[in-house]
């Protein structure tokens, strides 16, 4: 296949960026999208140009490093996968593909397709944990957890922290991410003591980072590589109201 790629190039956070068009031949359907970029980069280096900077690591959809907006969709077309799991068989010979970085004020572009997602870490530091020191845990089976709660907590915990929810939201809202974290811990008995404090602090940090609000468009759920449900956002809303109005 031969493809035309329009890729966002930007030298660093302070420089303006622009689209640069590349034509890529010899694209194989079994290639992943990132392998396509690898191949392009090899050609660029052979020509003495600087390769396109993009993030990736595990390349099996679990580390959450990859962060491309492909043809206007975070992680590209198709449900439930990260950019690294997108295969070229979903494109046709002659297609033009536009590749942009995630765009949100709290995710500044650092170079080309790399953005800074440290805001997510700071949200986690604000309360995304259960305070338990190593050595102080009770016997694992001493606290039963209903299977359905554990399953639901696992649905939420599957979040890979890639930020596609933010990238897809018209408001650059991080609600799906925060909701997934809050729900994962809030659904388990171990997470109860800090449940309301957690939601209060994480939402405060989320706002402080400059993410927008949720408008219930559910775009986040549609692009989430782990298909995390917006029902967790509903849970967060519920927990938050109680947290600020009733809990100490």
């Amino acid at each position: 296949m031969r493809l035309t790629l329009r890729i966002w190039r930007q030298k660093d956070a302070n420089s303006p960026g622009q689209f640069v068009t590349y034509v890529k031949d010899h694209v194989v359907p079994d290639m992943s999208f990132l392998e396509l970029l690898d191949a392009l980069n090899r050609e660029l280096v052979e020509r003495g140009e600087e390769p396109v900077a993009f993030e990736s690591d595990c390349r099996e959809g679990i580390c959450g490093s990859c962060s491309l907006v492909i043809n206007g969709i975070p992680h590209g077309p198709g449900r439930g996968k990260a950019s690294c799991q997108l295969y070229m068989r979903h494109f046709r010979d002659g297609d033009t593909i536009t590749v942009e970085p995630f765009r949100a004020k709290p995710f500044p572009v650092l170079r080309d397709l790399i953005v800074d997602r440290s805001a997510f870490d700071r949200i986690m530091q604000a309360g995304g944990f259960i305070s338990v020191n190593a050595g102080s845990a009770p016997e694992a089976n001493s606290i039963p957890v209903p299977k359905q709660n554990q399953e639901l907590a696992m649905d939420a915990a599957a979040c890979i922290g890639c930020g596609a929810c933010v990238a897809a939201c018209k408001n650059a809202s991080a609600m799906l991410f925060v909701a997934a974290k809050v729900s994962h811990l809030g659904l388990l008995p171990q997470g109860q003591p800090e449940r309301y404090r957690r939601v209060r602090n994480m939402v405060a940090q989320m706002d402080k980072e400059g993410f927008g609000g949720c408008s219930n468009t559910f775009e986040c759920e549609a692009v989430c590589p782990k298909q995390i449900s917006v029902r967790f956002i509903a849970r967060l809303n519920r927990d938050y109201l109680r947290a600020v109005l009733l809990e100490p």
């Binding site: 194989v28 390769p51 679990i62 599957a158």
Partner: protein, 637 residues
């Protein structure tokens, strides 16, 4: 030199408890005066950094990812072992210990492995308390699955994402300590050198991957938790950025590298499909619980699998290893797959693949149960191969997955360089010549949560050294060398991207030092590696400059280290003239093709000492004493 692992005396069951009572303590007020550097934030690094901080130490944690949560531990799928015996099937600490030491083909330290089995229960309790959503039964209690190399069900799991969930647990503990100011986190920072002051590891040199700034960091101790070196093979199941740089550069500063030839080939990976491929994808070992592995009985049988009748199929694992069947350990299953493919009975393109068939499981359990157990893995497989495993059997082939070798450490997880602690996959300790499934997570967390936090205090209490000034000449020299190394890479005046050389190296190693090795193949590799290295330094091109984000430069440094390290790997494989676990020397096999150990001459750890760029490294040994188990020929038949 004969190395001493400093294994404490006494009965096996009491060694760790007694040792803990004898370890010197640091009082709480003094703990905050000690500063620890932790490099790497995977399961081992994050759990260690968090736990040390909980104890009151000042911790600086480093990772090259944008966030500590992205370390490659996150990709572990199957599960974590703990000797809980919740299934009432006869499990015990002893059995977990014995399975692990036997699985490792008797090439690990008894005392270490026993301790690992002991703390497995504490780790598991702790992870549950952190909110890791492990699978449960309807009664609300924890569920188990079976895993390779064991006849009891002791593996706990969180769907196919156990590594991710455990890492998120450790990461959340780390986040808590960062918010409390006990840990200073340095993301996007790569360690490029170790600083040794008066024989003690006292700091590191790093490059900020955003700005390119080279920095010196001094501390009272350095902990390396930088993972394994499987990517020396280029194609492996490791994340594409996993590398040997931190441990290799520590090796060049005097830390001994132990058993580098112990590399694990995982039997169930998606076969290679073409040259474009950047990594191989693992299909969790848990699939072997319900999937049956087979190839056609006839050579060159190209019929589609559904047209091959039952009696013309060879369920070779069930045939060769009736008591473990499809759950034979990884090294055994991998070699068996290679053997049938070498016989010309492999399936798929190039004949490099065997079937992993779920049709019987779907008939027995129903498609819904299969979907619930393995749905995400099936989806992953379908996306990559464009084949539906609910309808046609998966095709799998072995691939490099884990490295048992690593920096040498004693019972306290301290390397031969005092003050340098090495934990997780980066050290060599607990898995011997082959790691059992669901044991890597256990070991990383054991080291980080429950072993290092005790033993590091002993080092602090006994060595009265203080943190050196980062302006000392040792730091300046190390920084200078790092800068020169970077300049040297940027000055190579060729035209090929570094990947070209990396891939070439990987292919050479896979062919000559992969699933099976021989004296001839290893000598060949040892001849070829320097040639590739030489061409790398002439023909590579590293674009960009030393400042700012420069992924080409990051990769070049890592590939340069792989090109040196590969030689050490082959040298170790050459010198270990026996077959054991993942190290299979063709000259040393039984009549039916099983690994043949040489306990008389090789019942030891080989630890290599760096002597200089052109010098042959020195091979030291640490004899392995087996006081409590009898060395036996491993049999899974």
């Amino acid at each position: 030199m004969i190395l001493d692992g400093r294994v404490p005396p006494g009965p096996l069951e009491q060694k760790w408890d007694r040792h803990r009572n004898e370890l010197a303590l640091v009082n709480p007020a003094n703990k905050r005066k000690f500063h620890v550097i932790v490099v790497g934030t995977g399961l081992a690094g994050a759990s260690a950094a968090a736990t040390l901080a909980e104890l009151g130490y000042q911790v600086s944690a480093f990772c090259f990812h944008d966030s500590p949560r992205r370390a490659h531990s996150i990709a572990a799928q199957g599960g974590i072992n703990a000797a809980k015996n919740y299934q009432n099937d006869g499990d015990s600490v002893w059995r977990l210990f014995y399975d692990t030491i036997k699985g490792g083909d008797f090439r690990s330290r008894e005392a270490n492995v026993y301790r690992l089995a002991q703390v497995s229960v504490n780790i598991f309790d702790h992870c549950v308390a952190q909110g890791v959503p492990f699978a449960r039964e309807y009664g609300g209690l924890l569920a188990n699955r079976s895993f390779g190399g064991a006849q009891v069900s002791r593996t706990f799991y969180a769907r196919g994402q156990t590594g991710q969930q455990l890492l998120l647990g450790a990461y959340s503990a780390l986040c808590r300590q960062i918010s409390l100011g006990q840990v200073k986190m340095y993301p996007r920072t790569e360690m490029l050198d170790l600083v040794v002051v008066d024989g003690h590891a006292k700091g590191i040199i790093t490059r900020n991957l955003l700005t390119g700034e080279i920095q010196r960091h001094a501390a009272d101790a350095v902990v390396l938790a930088t993972g394994g070196y499987g990517n020396v093979f280029y194609l492996s199941t490791n994340a594409v950025n996993s590398n040997v740089t931190a441990t290799y550069r520590a090796y060049k500063r005097g830390a001994f590298f132990a058993n580098p030839c112990f590399t694990q080939i995982h039997p169930t990976c998606i076969p290679v499909s073409g040259d474009h491929q950047s990594k191989l994808t693992l299909m969790s070992e848990s699939l072997r619980n319900d999937g049956r592995v087979w190839v056609p009985k006839k050579k060159g049988d190209t019929r589609p699998p559904e047209q091959i009748p039952e009696d013309e199929r060879d369920y070779f694992l069930e045939r060769m290893y009736p008591s473990y069947g499809n759950l034979a350990p990884r090294d055994i299953a991998s070699r068996a797959a290679k053997r049938v493919c070498d016989e010309g009975r492999g399936v798929g393109p190039g004949g490099l693949g065997v079937y992993l068939d779920f049709s019987e499981a779907i008939r027995r359990l129903g498609i819904e149960v299969v979907r619930e157990r393995y749905g995400n893995l099936f989806d992953m497989y379908r996306e990559i191969t464009n084949e539906d495993p609910y309808k046609v059997p998966m095709r799998i082939y072995p691939a490099v997955h884990y490295t048992m070798g690593g920096l040498w450490v004693d019972y306290n997880l301290m390397s031969n360089l005092p003050g340098l602690f090495v934990i997780g996959e980066a050290n060599f300790s607990d898995h011997g010549a082959n790691r059992l499934g669901a044991s890597a997570l256990m070991q990383g967390l054991a080291d980080g949560y429950f072993i290092l936090p005790y033993t590091i205090g002993d080092y602090f209490a006994r060595s009265k050294r203080t943190r050196p000034d980062p302006d000392r000449p040792e730091f300046r020299e190390a920084e200078e060398q790092t800068r020169k190394g970077i300049e040297r890479l940027l000055a190579i005046n060729g035209r090929h991207p570094v990947d070209v050389f990396h891939r070439e190296l990987g292919k050479l190693l896979w062919d000559h030092c992969g699933m099976s090795r021989s004296e001839a193949s290893l000598r060949h590799a040892l001849e070829e590696i320097p040639k590739i290295r030489e061409r790398f330094w002439k023909e590579a091109r590293v674009t960009g400059g030393p400042e700012g984000i420069n992924q080409a430069l990051e990769r070049a440094g890592r590939v340069a280290d792989f090109l040196e390290f590969a030689e050490l790997l082959c040298l170790d494989a050459l010198e270990r003239r026996e077959s054991c676990g993942g190290h299979f020397r063709e000259e040393f096999q039984t009549e039916d093709g099983e690994a043949k150990r040489d306990d008389e001459n090789f019942c030891h750890v080989a630890a290599w000492e760096y002597r200089g760029p052109k010098e042959r490294p020195t091979r030291h040994i640490e004899p392995l004493q087996f006081e409590f188990v009898k060395l036996a020929t491993r049999s899974y038949k």
